[in-house]
């Protein structure tokens, strides 16, 4: 009896100790450059959260739990615990439990959809009691990344069949559909980023090109008068056909393409004005011309650009900003945190922050490429894609290059769910990467 129990209880221990014995401490194998970048971003984020809520007529200590910076410190502390857990847990768990985790999160999303009380029109927050709220949509990112990677790792990539593609599409798009139902369109859009990861694993570049072209045409339709746009595209396509005899042979295809593009141009207008909800319309319109109504729907964009633009080359200095404090910029410690950097640290500070993100993204791609399993590599690319999409849209909207979509700046914006979600996302990769040598042995 005792023996059996003892064996059962003791059985995991030898496995861990044996791996330790054969492989040594995990610490030398961690990618310290990525971890350092992570901590720099988190620390800078924390200081800027303080700057964003700082008020010169009522100075509160940065550590005070009454303000966002104090609370963020708690989330950061919890993240440290989370990191330790993620690094200590057997790295194989992530692959093995990818589907259960994914299933659990889908369930959580559905539960949230049913039980959540609307907060600002969104039914995405799960109240855990004791004032703690969780946004499962944030967790859905890493869960989906795990599940999709696991799936890609389990099939033969060379013999793609329609069924596999449909399953992958389902894994990728079930969470965003539920999230859209929760009225969190911004978070749902993030899942489009997976296309980048799939592209690396062999997805036809056409999808990437078509997706990119569609987005470009969409934005251009809003910015350029229809007639000019159609004329321009017609001339370009005719020129291309004339220059390349191969296209001339596909004359019918070109005509078909032209009809599709022109049809899209016309439908964008219809889509914006008749399909989108008013608040979504406004965000799109604000992108086109925020100055048309600076106090109305263009408010966010205009104020955000004023804040960043007033920073100048060197910035106004830490805590010296006037726009990001005093509530001119909305959501100043969450979605519009970049304005604080722009205002107080100027072009230099903004560029350094962008460089830090680029460093992180390029590094993650390099980490992904050195993985030996398809699962690990795909997961790495998913991490890079998700972080990139947030970076693209969040900074883009503050400088008027992307529509206002309420998604946070990774590691930087205030908020526990967001910070934890990105921490989990990144450190699962770091844990897997630290153990990659063992995969070799396997």
């Amino acid at each position: 009896m005792e023996k059996v129990l003892g064996h059962k209880l003791a059985s995991p221990t030898p496995r861990i100790s044996s791996s330790r014995r054969s492989y040594g401490s995990i610490l030398p194998h961690l990618d310290w450059l990525t971890i350092l970048t992570y901590f720099v971003l988190v620390a800078l984020g924390w200081m800027n959260i303080y700057a964003a809520v700082y008020s010169p007529d009522n100075v509160v200590n940065i550590l005070s739990f009454d303000i966002n910076s104090g609370k963020q410190l708690v989330w950061i502390g919890a993240s440290l615990l989370l990191i330790m857990v993620l690094l200590v847990v057997d790295y194989k768990v992530y692959e093995h439990l990818a589907y259960p985790i994914y299933g659990f999160i889908i369930l959580l999303l559905l539960v949230t959809l049913v039980v959540a009380k609307p907060i600002a029109g969104s039914r995405s927050w799960l109240d855990l009691g004791a004032g703690i709220r969780l946004q499962p949509a944030e967790l859905a990112k890493f869960a989906t990344a795990l599940a999709a990677s696991r799936f890609l790792g389990s099939i033969n990539l060379r013999q793609q069949n329609f069924r596999d593609q449909m399953i992958l599409a389902a894994i990728t798009f079930i969470p965003p559909v539920i999230i859209v139902l929760q009225n969190e369109t911004g978070s749902a859009l993030v899942f489009a980023a997976f296309i980048l990861a799939y592209f690396r694993e062999g997805m036809s570049p056409l999808i990437l090109i078509i997706g990119g072209a569609a987005a470009a045409i969409f934005i251009l339709t809003l910015l350029v008068p229809q007639l000019y746009l159609i004329a321009g595209i017609t001339v370009l396509m005719a020129l291309a056909t004339w220059l390349d005899y191969r296209l001339l042979r596909r004359f019918k295809t070109m005509i078909g393409l032209w009809i599709v593009v022109v049809g899209m141009i016309f439908s964008v207008d219809f889509f914006v004005n008749n399909v989108l909800q008013p608040h979504q319309q406004n965000r799109i319109k604000a992108l086109i011309n925020p100055e048309a109504d600076p106090l109305g729907y263009g408010w966010n964009v205009t104020q955000s650009k004023i804040a960043i633009g007033s920073g100048g080359f060197w910035g106004k200095g830490f805590l010296e900003g006037t726009q990001t404090k005093f509530d001119f910029v909305p959501e100043q410690s969450t979605d519009f945190i970049f304005c604080t950097i722009g205002e107080e640290h100027g072009w230099v500070g903004s560029s350094i922050l962008i460089a830090l993100f680029l460093l992180l993204l390029v590094r993650i791609v390099n980490i992904a490429e050195r993985q030996k399993s398809v699962f690990a590599r795909t997961y790495g690319y998913c991490v890079a894609s998700i972080i990139f999409f947030h970076f693209l849209v969040n900074i883009g909207m503050t400088i008027g290059l992307a529509p206002v979509v309420g998604i946070p700046l990774p590691f930087f914006s205030y908020g526990g769910s967001s910070l934890w979600s990105f921490t989990i996302l990144l450190f699962i990769l770091i844990a897997i990467d630290a153990n990659r040598a063992k995969d070799l042995a396997r």
């Binding site: 010169p56 980048l196 062999g202 004023i306 804040a307 007033s310 001119f328 890079a384 990139f388 400088i399």
Partner: protein, 609 residues
Amino acid sequence: MNYLENRKYVIQGIFLLVGIIYIIRLFYIQVVDSSYKQAAETNAIKPIIQYPFRGLIYDRNGKLLVQNTPVYDLMVIPKDVKNLDTLRLAKLVNLPLEDVRDRLKKARAFSSVQPSPFYQKLSTQEFAYIQNNLIDFPGFHINARTARGYPHQSLAHALGYIAEISPRQLEDSTYKGYRPGDYIGKSGIELEYEKYLMGQRGVKYKMVNVRGVEKGSFRDGAFDTLAVAGENLVSTIDLDLQAYGEYLMNGAKGSIVAIEPATGEVLAYVSAPFYDPNLFTGKDYGKNYMELLQDSNKTMFNRPIMADQNPPGSVFKLTQALIALQEGVISPNTTFACNRSLVNCHNHPSPLNLYGAVQHSCNPWFYQAYRLLINQGKSKNTFTDTAIGLKEWREQVLSFGFGQQLGIDIPGEKKGIIASTDLYDRVYGKNRWKYSTIYSLSIGQGELGVTPLQMANFAAIIANRGYYVTPHIIRSIGDEGKPLKEYREKHYTSVDPKHFEPIVQGMAEVVRAGTGRRANLQKAGIEVCGKTSTAQNPQGPDHAVFLAFAPKDDPKIAIAVYVEHGKWGGQSAAPIAGLMIEKYLTDTVTIKEQEKWVLSRKYLDIRSK
């Protein structure tokens, strides 16, 4: 699989491309385009005007005419209002319940976080009462500011008043720097000396949040400026004399203007009926203003400088005599018979020389003298000759300050009318009028209009024997200052000073034994020179006029008194002039019987109206 590995570079390339586009975009909006910096300043930095104390106004003896008194406004910040007992609040401020609700609604509509006035201009009693109860009304507070106060209730027309700047003024570039809600001089001294009285506004730069709530000073107040109080003004008015003049005129209509001849300083400036200037400071300002504006006695009409429709009457005979002497067409000993076929007259000895003609105000005498003056035979054609004579005569009349603005420092002064060749040419046609057409001018009737101020100035000219200093009501700007430059110059008339003496003699006779006997101050040892007049009034009984100065040698006061519908200057205006002169020169009144007579108003039917 190798070609897929290359896709790594595509993906990293996309990352870098986006990063570079963003850095370039940031460079554009942060470094190249400066419009965002300006937008940021107007966004978050709010200049808060520091209102200076408006300058005070003193009388010539240092008595306060205009001061600043604290007024209290009950303010409300709607956001902070909690558990409001509306009924009790209504009782506290003594307003109907609905009114209270309306005011709250208005305040909320304005801003929920910024204070807005709930009940303005509380009286001191209301203030004390409300202050004591305020603790039960969170969100309400008292805001103290200053308004104009007038401790003596006198001189309303000259002082003028201040009120909120009008939308029209705000659009005018002359009032650059004023903001809506600012108080500005609207009339009188308050308007004329606005730029001295207003002082210099200070500005405090506050940082504000998006709702306009203050968040501390900008750069620790490095750009702030302090408010500089307005300059105090010292008036030429003698408050005691002014108050006495108002006492005498109370219930009558008309004007008194008294001037110190040598300096042009206005000693008294009465426009009756008058009003208490404090009426324009309280919360009933609008109502009071409209009432006064519409009242049938034309209380708001600033008579001394605006009543220019009345001909001067007999006083003008003095002007005619002076010009005739200057032109050499008469001498003091020229005699004319009182020929009533020329123009009507009253019983007096005849014939008379100049002294007698002035003393008895003989109409035919001046008819004949004026004909000599106008028709000097400069042209054989009597029409042309008259035109030449009138033109030359008019030039000289203007040198007495008639027919033009004298330039007193009270806005709204009227020019008056002096007959001109143009005027007659228009009415009768060129060369179609001659002396018989215009002879009324000889006795101060006809196409003449003179303000009481011009009349008083004329008295000062005779007192000075030939010159005047532009009448003014402010003698110094700042406690130690000087009057404006234009009030330090002597203006000589076209008439040589030596010609004034006979006129002065005649005027002394008027008071000693003529029509102006009620202004006689012989008992007090003061020799008064005067002249009665009747200003014809087509709308009713004629206006009584008396012009005087005293003492005869080294005059200290020149005065013009108008009593509307007073009929004869000798009866109603002369005693007022006498009383004023005695009051000013000796600070006492001995001719009590005249005071009683004036206050009885027996010569007026004004009260029965």
